[in-house]
Amino acid sequence: MMQTLFLIMVSAYCLGALVALSGGRGSLGRGLVALGAVIGAGAGFALAANVILSGTPFTLSVPDLLPLAGGLALRLDPLGAFFLIIIGLGAIPSSIYGAGYSEVYEDGSASLRLLGLALNLFLLTMSLVTFADNVLTFLLMWEGMSLTSYFLVMTESREAGTVRAGIWYLAMTHIGLALLMGGFIVLMNGGSGAFSDLRTSAASLSAASRSLVFLLTFLGFGSKAGIVPLHIWLPMAHPAAPSHVSALMSGVMIKMGIYGILRVALDLLGGGPVWWGGIILGVGSVSALLGVLYALMEHDLKRLLAYHSVENIGIILIGIGAGMIFHTYGMMTLAALGFIGGLYHTINHASFKSLLFLGAGSVLHATHTRNMEELGGLIKNMPWTALFFLIGSAAISALPPLNGFASEWLVFQSLLGGFNLPVPEVALLMPVAVGMLALTSGLAAACFVKAFGITFLALPRSEAAEHAHESPLSMQVGMGILALACIGLGLAPFAVVRLIGGVITGLGGLPDTRAAFTFNLHLQTPGAFGQMSSPLVFLGLLILLGLTPLIMRLLRVNWQLRRGDTWGCGRVGQTARMEYTATSFAEPLRRIFAELYRPSRDVTIDFHPDSKYFVQSIEYRSEITPLFERWLYDPILRLIRFTARQVRKLQAGSLYLYLAYIIIILIILLLAARWF
């Protein structure tokens, strides 16, 4: 059964890729390419569900491939299966959506062949990452995933900025790979690369080596996940890619970083000293806060969403970091709570971020702009997209009863458990994280009021937005599936938590903590630290929402409604220029966090030539300082360029110099040979 599903998965992706390679044009071609991806993802989803429900891993080993490091070893355990489910969750709707979305490339502005090929291979390699059971298989699939996604990013290579985005993406991802490679190799300690051997060899490593492995892999996976300050590729690459690819990258691919962190830190290394968790927690908090703060300043819809991915990865890491800290102190139930919170947020983020990117894609599809300042009023022409985007916005803002809330609630709960920690210094991390997490979610809500409000509400700010049209059915279906997932995941935390509880059982010595939770309609944390029931909250809201108008009707409330002009203090006509803009919406926060943004303001006023009392135009420009670019990346790049310029001088063109090198090295080595 599992074997068959696996074969279906691999062959469907491959067939999809082949169809793409043979052209993949026209609605049939695009449909077939998408079909391959959908079947592949579906089979993967089924396989993963099978593994999780049955609890028995799926294994497959091909020793003839990659014989240098133990062959291609595949093993899908529940943890991998969980992430495979996330892939399925993101891939199925995105592929359906992509079938419609990629129609815009039929005019030859991008290669449909490359897009379809890379998309299917991307999904395949990403799926296989979760299967990898030895180091080389893992790295190979990891790199395959990065490479194919790079080509996906480069789809619209003619657009300005895409090439730059591609470079940054590939560079960051490769630096990540180098770190991973280093980490894994230290972990292998000269032995075999099979994960089962690594678990045993990890125990024999020295504490310093273990910590080195942890740091290297954390940074390596973190660069993929988009932790601050390694996040800078996200806001470049995600907007550049086609939207369904952005959805996959942001919704699914960066989660592989989370998978890797869990796999290595928890599973292979089996946990470590408390500062590991502290680092994860700290990085998570900072990522969450900075992610959302930068998102607030963004007016490019997709860049905004990309920064929110940084934020949500931060939230996930807060949960995981808390879990790691508890794990260190042997507080397994609380540890499980932290991990469950993190993982739950992972799958939730996959659903709502994919949904939001697909929504942004629909907007882009209809208006050809991502600049929020040129959008507006789309809710009238694109009601479905607006509804789906609204659901996504509410979910990402952690509004009950949607899924974002359920997981943030769990993360909060695990942090609140922090007062049980025996060491006060460590325990004090928790309230700080609580504060940052709360600020983050508040700012996220503000940001999505901006994103949804400026994009979809009020009057259209440009010609394009005015003539927007609803996206085709396939795109709506893709978004609809994800919107349902957002609602469903929000309403069934009891089931999801149970599943995740099963997934993490046994990792790093975590016991089966499922019994510590109650799993009826209420979600109850261990020791009844907190309880809630999102289905009941939903039900209650629904009942009240129904009852309120009903009672109002019964009480004979005046039900008349008259349409009129917007009240604007009596001004003659309302135009879009009078609306609040995204910039002005974010202005208070820009001022409040000016220390961070260090905004530059540039106001130019043109006066009428005859009189300085008549202003002709005012140009206002304000930019925020890109902190990390300026203080982290620029110095490194400058250093490299400086070194490069020095090294270039070696090759100065003079033959005498070249011969002199030979003599000098000869003399040095001869003297060395004589005396050393």
Binding site: Q651, G653, S654, L655, Y656, I663, L670, L671, R674
Partner: protein, 219 residues
């Protein structure tokens, strides 16, 4: 003749060979370079003959003959032809002036002594005391290559270095096996011919055989 005499002779010969190498550094005209090289080669062939006699190694006679023909006759001939054609009789302007060159070459010979110390200690040949001189000559040849600006002077430097190697082989091992020796001669000849061809090319393309103007290709 007995061993001490042979030892004396070989050291003397090596010294003379090295001296011709150092003379190069002192002289300033291409013509003098070629002359020095020619005489050096002559001394080297004589040494080969002597060594052949002492060690009863008849292959060395053949080697000596080859060496003489190649390095004392053929190559100097071609060098002179080139010199006549391209030499502008101006003094060579080395990168390092003569005084410094001499001091540096002295230091290089000293370095050769230091480096070849184990060789001298290990070897039981009567010729062993000349080994440092041979190594010194190799260094001096390299030094000429690095500091002299004309293509022809570089060729001479290279040939001097080759002589140094031949001397080293002679003093250390009474010459390498004949097949290698023959191959080496062939290579030297071919290499010289290629270089010669290139000197023509350089002259026609750059209108001068000053090598230091060839620094367009960089970075």
């Amino acid at each position: 003749m007995n061993d001490p005499l042979f030892s004396q002779l070989s050291t003397l010969g090596s010294s003379i060979v090295l001296l011709f190498g150092i003379i190069l550094l002192w002289r300033k005209s291409l013509h003098a370079y070629i002359d020095a090289f020619r005489w050096q080669s002559v001394v080297l062939s004589v040494m080969l003959l002597i060594t052949g006699t002492f060690s009863n190694d008849h292959e060395l006679y053949a080697v000596a003959l080859f060496l003489f023909i190649l390095k004392a006759v053929v190559i100097p001939h071609y060098l002179e032809r080139m010199e006549k054609r391209f030499g502008d009789h101006r003094e060579l302007q080395p990168y390092v002036n003569v005084a410094s060159s001499l001091i540096l070459s002295g230091m290089l010979v000293l370095l050769a002594y230091v480096i070849t110390r184990p060789l001298v200690l290990i070897s039981d040949l009567p010729t062993r005391s000349g080994i440092p001189l041979a190594m010194g000559l190799i260094f001096v040849g390299l030094f000429v290559l690095v500091t002299r600006k004309k293509a022809i002077s570089q060729i001479v430097g290279f040939l001097v270095m080759e002589n140094g190697i031949a001397l080293l082989a002679l003093l250390g091992t009474y010459g390498t096996p004949i097949i290698v020796e023959l191959g080496v001669f062939l290579d030297v000849l071919l290499g010289f011919l290629v270089m010669q061809v290139f000197v023509y090319h350089i002259q026609t393309t750059f209108e001068s055989i000053e090598v230091d103007q060839m620094n367009e290709l960089k970075h």
